[in-house]
Structure formats: structure tokens, C-alpha cells
């Protein structure tokens, strides 16, 4: 570890300000848990995990609908690996696969194109999940499918947007957040302006932060600096990857293919214009439309506190199930399933906490 990290650590350790800082990115959740940064912070500085893990915030109703769809004999369901073990009301995708459902795990949505062209007699459905970082990759894939005239491909979109959920968090009186560690790779696409607007509107300091321990410590120091001087603006710490204007090509693709829709978030409920579904030009690719799926009512997993954990109201280890009934081997809720879920990260690195 270089001296810069030690200097930052010493500086932060001696801060007397009382504050709660939130991150909203699964990669930050993992990086913070792994680095042991929580363990060196003084008690007066708290680090909260917000709704930054796309797998965790996906509603139970959508997970159930996707599992049901995967069991259709004509369907090949294509998904990122993170979704396989997420428990629905009745089993998971992994269990559906063990019972014969044709489910393929991919690293890139582009692989869906090959699967669709190799299986012209089957319906290939991609489970489109992720925030502003991932949604453009799915938009680009669908545009390519359209050029290739792959009519047997569709997407079940549970894509979500970060600024609307931040608005919901900041207006929730039950959640105390004094500053925000902004998601580094979402910002690669959005740029700094959406966060700058929120910083002013809600008077919350924000710093777009990278993912190594030195980045995170610097992000925390910048947030504390703003809090102490009474400022509320968006700053850019992760300069090596984020341009202030973001990636305009990616944003253009998003608007060409998708439109904002109201979306259901686990534990947070319906949030206006916080999700993405296909716009009128691409609605033939909407799996909900193609298979006439009526998404059922949201149900909660009995005893599971994922909703409270995702909104920063509860620390993972304050959930009565944590580490007893709910472990990474036998997860009850999605925050314990996804590697980057708050509960899984806390469980895995709990000795580093304090």
C-alpha cells in the first residue's frame, strides 16, 4: 500500500464529523467490503449500501415471470450468471434448468445473437438487467438483431435508472444519507450532470468514485470536505474513466431503443420513470408483449429484510436471518445471492468490518 493511502486513512480516521455516506453500486459494495475500509472508519462516519445491485432490486414479480417463461418448451432463456440462483416464489432459474428448462448463461448480450441465429425454430429471450452501464449494450444488441432480421429474439427488460431511485431515497424521511459515493461505471454513460442536478436539488454532496481502495478513500475525503464546508455539488474523482459529458453514443442508443417507464423495485415499490422498456420502434422485441405476460403482484419473501437493506434502513447483519437461516450457500433473499449484494459482501468479509 502506498503512502497516499496511509495519509488518506489517517486524515479520515481523525475526522469528527457525524455523517452517513451511501454507495449505490454493487462493485463499490464489493470493493468496500473487501478492502476493510469500514473497519478503519471512526464510528461517526457510516457507510451505507443503497439500491446498487441490479439483481437485488429486481422485483419478485418479475423474477417469477421470467422463471415461468423459461419453462416454456419453445423458449431458450439467455441470462447473465448472477440471476441463476435468485429465489423466486417457486424455485430459481437454476432449479428450472435442472428440471429441463433451456437456460444459457452469457457474459455479453451479443452472444444472444448467435444463439438466436443457430436456433431459428426456438424463441430466444434475453433477460435484460442492469443500470445505465448495461442497458446500452442491450440496446446495441437489439439494434443489431433488427439489422440481421432475427425475428426469434426478444428481451425481458428489467433495466433500471439510477437518478430516479436516488430521488426516492432522498425524499424518504426514514433514510438518513448525507453524501453519495456515485456509481463509477454508470457515470461512464450518464456523465456528471444528472448527479450535479440531484446534488443541488437535494443539497447532498456527491462524488463519482473509482473502485480501488485509494479511489474510495479519496471519494470519502472529498465528501467530508464538502460536508464541512457546507457545499453540495457533484465532483469527479474517477477521472481516468469518466468524462464529464459521459458517453453520448451510449445515451443516444438508449433513447433510440428504450423509453423510461414506471418500474417496481424490491423493497422500494413503484418509482415513476425509473425503468426502461422498448419504445414504439422496437416494441416487437419486448418479451412481455410477445408472450403476453401479465406480471403478477409483488410478494415478499417471509422474514427477509432485503427491502430495508436495499434502502439503507438496515445493516445486513441486523437482519434476524443473516448468517443463520440465510447464508450464501442457502440464501433466502437476493442480497445474499448476488456476490455484489450487500448481505453476501458483508457475510464474506465480516471479519474485516470491525
Amino acid at each position: 500500500m502506498n503512502s497516499n493511502v496511509f495519509q488518506l486513512m489517517e486524515q479520515i480516521k481523525n475526522e469528527k464529523i457525524n455523517c452517513s455516506l451511501m454507495e449505490v453500486c454493487g462493485t463499490h459494495t464489493m470493493a468496500i467490503a473487501k478492502s476493510g475500509i469500514r473497519g478503519i472508519l471512526p464510528d461517526n462516519i457510516r457507510l451505507l449500501t443503497g439500491p446498487g445491485c441490479p439483481v437485488c432490486v429486481t422485483s419478485q414479480a418479475d423474477i417469477d415471470a421470467v422463471i415461468e417463461l423459461s419453462c416454456h418448451p419453445d423458449v431458450i432463456l439467455v441470462t447473465f450468471g448472477d440471476m441463476m440462483r435468485v429465489p423466486g416464489s417457486k424455485g430459481s432459474l437454476q432449479e428450472a434448468r435442472s428440471q429441463g428448462a433451456d437456460i444459457r448463461i452469457v457474459y455479453s448480450p451479443l452472444e444472444t445473437l448467435e444463439i438466436a441465429s443457430e436456433n431459428p425454430q426456438r424463441q430466444v429471450v434475453f433477460l435484460g438487467i442492469g443500470f445505465e452501464t448495461t442497458a446500452p449494450t442491450v440496446a446495441a444488441t437489439v439494434q443489431r438483431a433488427d439489422q440481421l432480421k432475427l425475428k426469434n429474439l426478444s428481451v425481458y427488460s428489467v433495466h433500471k435508472l439510477v437518478p430516479p431511485v436516488l430521488r426516492a431515497i432522498f425524499t424518504d424521511k426514514m433514510v438518513q444519507v448525507d453524501g453519495l459515493i456515485c456509481p463509477g461505471h454508470v457515470s461512464v454513460v450518464t456523465g456528471i450532470y444528472p448527479f450535479a442536478e440531484l446534488a443541488v436539488q437535494f443539497q447532498k454532496p456527491m462524488v463519482i468514485t473509482g473502485f480501488d481502495p485509494e479511489d474510495i478513500l479519496q471519494g470519502i475525503a472529498l465528501l467530508i470536505g464538502q460536508l464541512k464546508s457546507g457545499e453540495a455539488k457533484a465532483e469527479l474523482q474517477y477521472r481516468r474513466a469518466v468524462r464529464p459529458e459521459g458517453n453520448p453514443t451510449a445515451r443516444q442508443l438508449l433513447t433510440q431503443v428504450f423509453e423510461p417507464v414506471d418500474a417496481l423495485w424490491r423493497g422500494l415499490g413503484a418509482i415513476p420513470a425509473s425503468g426502461l422498456n422498448f419504445n414504439i420502434h422496437y416494441r416487437d422485441y419486448d418479451a412481455r408483449r410477445r408472450f403476453q405476460i401479465e406480471v403478477g403482484n409483488e410478494t415478499e419473501i417471509p422474514g427477509c429484510s432485503c427491502g430495508a437493506v436495499l434502502s439503507g434502513k438496515l445493516e445486513p447483519d441486523q437482519c434476524p436471518l443473516f448468517g443463520n437461516a440465510c447464508t450464501p450457500i442457502q440464501p433466502v433473499g437476493p442480497c445474499m445471492v448476488s456476490q455484489e449484494g450487500a448481505c453476501a459482501a458483508t457475510y464474506r468479509y465480516q471479519l474485516l468490518r470491525r
Binding site: 453500486c25 454493487g26 462493485t27 473487501k34 445491485c53 441490479p54 439483481v55 447473465f80 448472477d82 457474459y107 455479453s108 448480450p109 451479443l110 452472444e111 438487467i129 442492469g130 443500470f131 452501464t133 448495461t134 446500452p136 449494450t137 446495441a140 439494434q143 443489431r144 456509481p183 463509477g184 461505471h185 454508470v186 461512464v188 454513460v189 480501488d212 481516468r240 474513466a241 469518466v242 468524462r243 458517453n247 453514443t249 451510449a250 442508443l253 448476488s338 455484489e340
Partner: protein
């Protein structure tokens, strides 16, 4: 989920395809989100797509850090 890894563009292909060198592995990616990219550029790659051009020196530093993390986790 929003994990990004640095890689170097070593070939540009038709239809916005490219080959990137990620840690010695040659991986086919798309540059549909970054059409201005050129051979030799270091890019941040997410889900098979180049998302942003990154500074060469900073890419190497990120790579070294990722390797250090892997060493630590062994």
C-alpha cells in the same frame, strides 16, 4: 454487475466489431458504443462492449491493482 475491465484494441473488424487484448487473452468485443476507438487504444470493457477510452498509464495501473487483488484473494 457494472464491472469494467481494461483491454487494448488490437484489431478493428467490420460491423463495429473489434478484438481486444485483455490480460493476454484475445476477446472479440463490440465498439458500437465507442465508434471513435482506434487500434492501440486502451478501453474500459463491460459485457463485451468498449464503454470508454482510458489513459494508457492509468489502464496499466488499474490492471496491476486487479492483479494485486487476485494475488490477495489466493
Amino acid at each position: 454487475m457494472c464491472l469494467g475491465v481494461p483491454g487494448q484494441i488490437i484489431e478493428i473488424q467490420p460491423d463495429l466489431g473489434a478484438v481486444a487484448d485483455i490480460d493476454g487473452n484475445q476477446v472479440t468485443i463490440s465498439v458500437a458504443l465507442l465508434p471513435e476507438v482506434e487500434i492501440g487504444d486502451y478501453v474500459l470493457i463491460h459485457a463485451g462492449f468498449a464503454m470508454e477510452i482510458i489513459d494508457l498509464q492509468l489502464a496499466i495501473e488499474t490492471k496491476q491493482l486487479l492483479q494485486e487483488f487476485q494475488e490477495l484473494n489466493k
